[in-house]
């Protein structure tokens, strides 16, 4: 597959429909440039993103996952993004123990009007992940070659 169709690193982005998803639209409409590495998935609220979605994304070959929601206190479902915040702290810790670096998982609060922030965040994430090896080779106990004592 040509590089342009299969950019590396591959990042799955969960965008809340009330904010970051709109910010992404605005970024597109205003022809701001942001990297093609993202596979956007619209969710009704960042709180809909269950921890297993993050690990499923990695299992399917993602190199990074971005979860973007409304600013704290502005969630349409009041506490959805607080839930996201709490869960993602544990998810990051768990992932780290399993060999997935912290940089690969990112949570950001991006309001509708913050298309620029979205562009900055996505660029920054790509730059940081570019230098890491593909995630599939990171998970402990799964992908290292089974060569040890013989």
């Amino acid at each position: 597959m040509p590089e342009i169709l299969n950019p590396k690193p591959k990042i799955v982005a969960f965008f809340c429909k009330w904010c970051s998803s709109k910010a992404a639209d605005i970024a597109g409409v205003s022809r701001m440039e942001y990297p093609p590495n993202f596979i956007p998935i619209m969710t009704p609220c960042s709180g809909r993103v269950e921890p297993e979605f993050i690990f499923d994304a990695f299992a399917e070959g993602a190199d990074g996952v971005l979860v973007a929601g409304c600013h704290l206190g502005e969630c349409h479902y009041v506490v959805g993004n607080y839930k996201t915040l709490k869960r993602m702290i544990l998810v990051k810790k768990l992932a780290k123990e399993m060999g997935i670096e912290e940089e690969r998982i990112r949570v950001e609060w991006i309001a509708t009007a913050e298309a620029k922030k979205l562009v900055t965040v996505t660029n920054d994430m790509v730059n940081k992940l570019k230098h890491l090896p593909p995630c599939s080779s990171k998970l402990k106990g799964v992908t290292q070659e089974e060569k040890t004592n013989d």
Partner: protein
């Protein structure tokens, strides 16, 4: 009466599962005449080479304890699968990886280096004092099996017919197991493949502690830090208890008898695939609930940081699904590519 040919084989087990069979005491008496023991190294000096001589499917039932940790365990698992009609994963280790699967947060190299290179050792003759092969008599070499990079449940290696979870399983499960065996002897009938021989609810149903209508954790406490109230649900006391996502069947041994939280040894509750991630999610939801605005980002971070070692807490007895899936996918790729060569 035809006798049932039974074998007890093992992967990376601790011996507790075998002890749990010995500890059945008089429950074993009716089995004496019904069973023809083919292999059980814990009980007597059986040899694998005798098992190799058996016809395929000649053993009726194999109970397999322990996960797959070394190249030797892979061989044992395949040998007993081939020679047995029914393969039972016995104990949490064989069912889900068990305690040994905690090593999945380290690679094999890290484990070996820690123990044999950087670790304290009687022999300090340098970095290479781990010798997988040794010559114990002139010309007679012994080689240790290879430590695999992962520690996975039995069903990632061979097909498993039934699962008996528990670390170790309890006599109540043996009542069911003995019923199954005696029915099989009399009628040849068996329960559906994949049956889990344990309870059919979540552990909380079995636990008689008083549960408040709503549980909120404002401070996480580790079991060693307090002497918990023996009547009230442990979660409500800030202690992480895996009861809500764990299968019943043990009689709530830990929460009721020992006043300690459930660590999840009976594996995921019915309809739950990955109990660890479900519990992680639930714990995050109830932490600081209703007070989130007040606590703010910093306060919530500080609260969640009180949960130390999520891998060891939520996956103490079971390999995370993602690891299992990725490992299986990798194996399939290997299989296909070695076929096409």
């Amino acid at each position: 009466m035809t006798k049932i040919k039974l074998a007890v084989a093992a992967g990376s087990y601790c011996g507790g599962c075998d002890m749990s069979i010995v500890a059945l005491n008089e429950m074993l008496i009716p089995l004496e005449d019904a069973i023809d023991l083919q292999f059980w190294q814990f009980a007597a000096d059986f040899k694998l080479k005798d098992v190799e001589k058996l016809k395929d499917g000649e053993i009726d039932i194999t109970l397999f304890d322990g996960p797959i940790r070394t190249s030797e365990h892979i061989k044992t698992a395949h040998l007993f699968r081939k020679k047995s009609k029914i393969m039972i994963a016995y104990g949490s280790c064989a069912c889900f990886g068990g305690i040994p699967q905690l090593a999945n947060s380290y690679s094999a190299k890290e484990i070996l280096d820690e123990n044999y290179v950087h670790g304290y050792n009687m022999d300090d003759s340098g970095q290479n004092h781990m010798q997988p092969t040794s010559e114990y008599k002139k010309g007679r070499k012994m080689t240790l099996p290879k430590l695999l990079d992962s520690c996975l449940p039995l069903d990632t290696e061979v097909e498993v017919d039934y699962f008996v979870p528990g670390c170790p399983p309890v006599p109540g499960q043996w009542e069911t197991l003995l019923d199954i065996i005696s029915k099989f002897i009399k009628t040849g009938e068996l329960p559906p493949k994949g049956t889990v021989i344990a309870g059919n609810t979540a552990l909380c149903e079995e636990c008689g502690r008083t549960k408040p209508d709503e549980i909120v954790i404002n401070k996480f406490v580790r079991p060693y830090e307090v002497d918990p109230d023996p009547e009230i649900c442990l979660l409500a006391q800030g202690i992480i208890c895996l009861g809500p996502a764990t299968r019943s069947g043990c009689g709530a041994k830990c929460t009721l008898n020992a006043n300690v939280p459930c660590r999840g040894c009976f594996g995921p509750a019915p309809e739950v695939n990955d109990a660890g991630i479900k519990m992680l999610s639930a714990i995050a939801s109830i932490a600081g609930a209703k007070k989130e605005g007040e606590l703010g980002e910093e306060g919530l971070k500080a609260l969640m940081d009180q949960v130390v070692d999520p891998f060891g807490t939520f996956y103490r007895f079971a390999v995370p699904e993602i690891m299992k899936q990725m490992k299986m996918a990798k194996k399939q790729v290997k299989h296909v590519s070695s076929k096409s060569k």
